[in-house]
Subunit: 118 residues, 4 copies
């Protein structure tokens, strides 16, 4: 059975979200350092194949301080949105809290019609 561009775009979006979650969960973080982590994640993800756009925003409200005055990056802090592209098909997906779970979801897939060739 054929694998279509749409399958591939969706697959790549899944890979990147799964990867970023497990690469960065556990990192020491605070409200002041959060921007540096966001930037590092974005710059790491954009390097990978098929990624068109990536934005990562970490929820500062969840960064409650432990007894040493910092916090640890947890799954529920992530708000990430990614756009992948394979051929003319795009997939937009995100990672965001949903019912207390850091949910990864496909938001939309769409195909840009190829130019006609007369």
């Amino acid at each position: 059975m054929m694998i279509h561009n749409r399958d591939q775009a969706v697959f790549e979006a899944g890979i990147k979200l799964g990867a970023l979650y497990h690469q960065w969960v556990g990192t020491p973080v605070s409200r002041r350092s959060a921007a540096s982590i966001e930037s590092a994640i974005e710059q790491a993800v954009i390097l990978q194949p098929c990624v068109e756009e990536i934005t990562v925003r970490l929820d500062r409200n969840l960064m409650t301080e432990n007894i040493f005055g910092y916090s640890e990056l947890s799954g529920l802090m992530f708000n990430a949105e990614i756009v992948t592209r394979v051929g003319f098909t795009y997939c937009r997906a995100r990672l965001a809290p949903h019912d207390g779970y850091p949910l990864m979801q496909i938001m939309e897939c769409h195909e840009i019609p190829s130019l006609s060739h007369h």
Copy 2:
């Protein structure tokens, strides 16, 4: 635009492969301990939503010893195959070396025809 079961099954397969890669890369490993890592990865992945099957085999031939007599889990050591299911649609995907790169690939998607209702 609608998200189909097939999209979802493919997405979940991507998530799991991306996650396992970045969770375990860097782990100290040797030929003798490799089986314990394989088992831990399989038992962790099977817990996650939509996973029907997961097998992980780490390439012992790449486990060359450093000056302290062990190795470190690297991307190219992975041979993993996963089957995800959403509704009646299955996706089989894998992570394996390809041209010196630890490639994640969709192997097939297929749908089990629903039972007819006469």
Copy 3:
């Protein structure tokens, strides 16, 4: 200034505890799979230089199920104890919850007197 065996043993204990924490935090886990993670961690840590003993016990009581029926390895689940040795000096250290923080602590350092040579 000289670095003594005691310094080295203490340093190695710190390295291993810091490493295991950040390698495994975030792993999907459940009460049924916990033993496989414990075993994989122990078998990975024992490979590393200067490690004499390592035991890891993950707190099942903290493994509350998310909406998909599993949990995620968090810092407070760890109860780990390690013994490192450099020359005739041993260091015993542990990682365990303390006031809601996953604290790493040196428990004791002791030196085995060398055999006398008459």
Copy 4:
């Protein structure tokens, strides 16, 4: 047996080096994005208890491009130096390649004499 400030400072240095290694190994990286990773690591480590200074430099020469044009953060890329302090005792340690192994080493421990009180 007593645990001294020196032991504690050395232990904390070990923890931080072990932690940063296993937190970040495996991250996608390129020469252009390396600075963002360096900054994120430094800003994460400085949050942790007893850390006075941390500098991280990633070896761009080892960032050879894979078939998709990027690289992956590996242990040998790290050149990190940390200073920890407990009471009036300082420990300086580093992570750097040595004989093809990413070696963590104590560089020096020293104590600032307390002010005399006549």
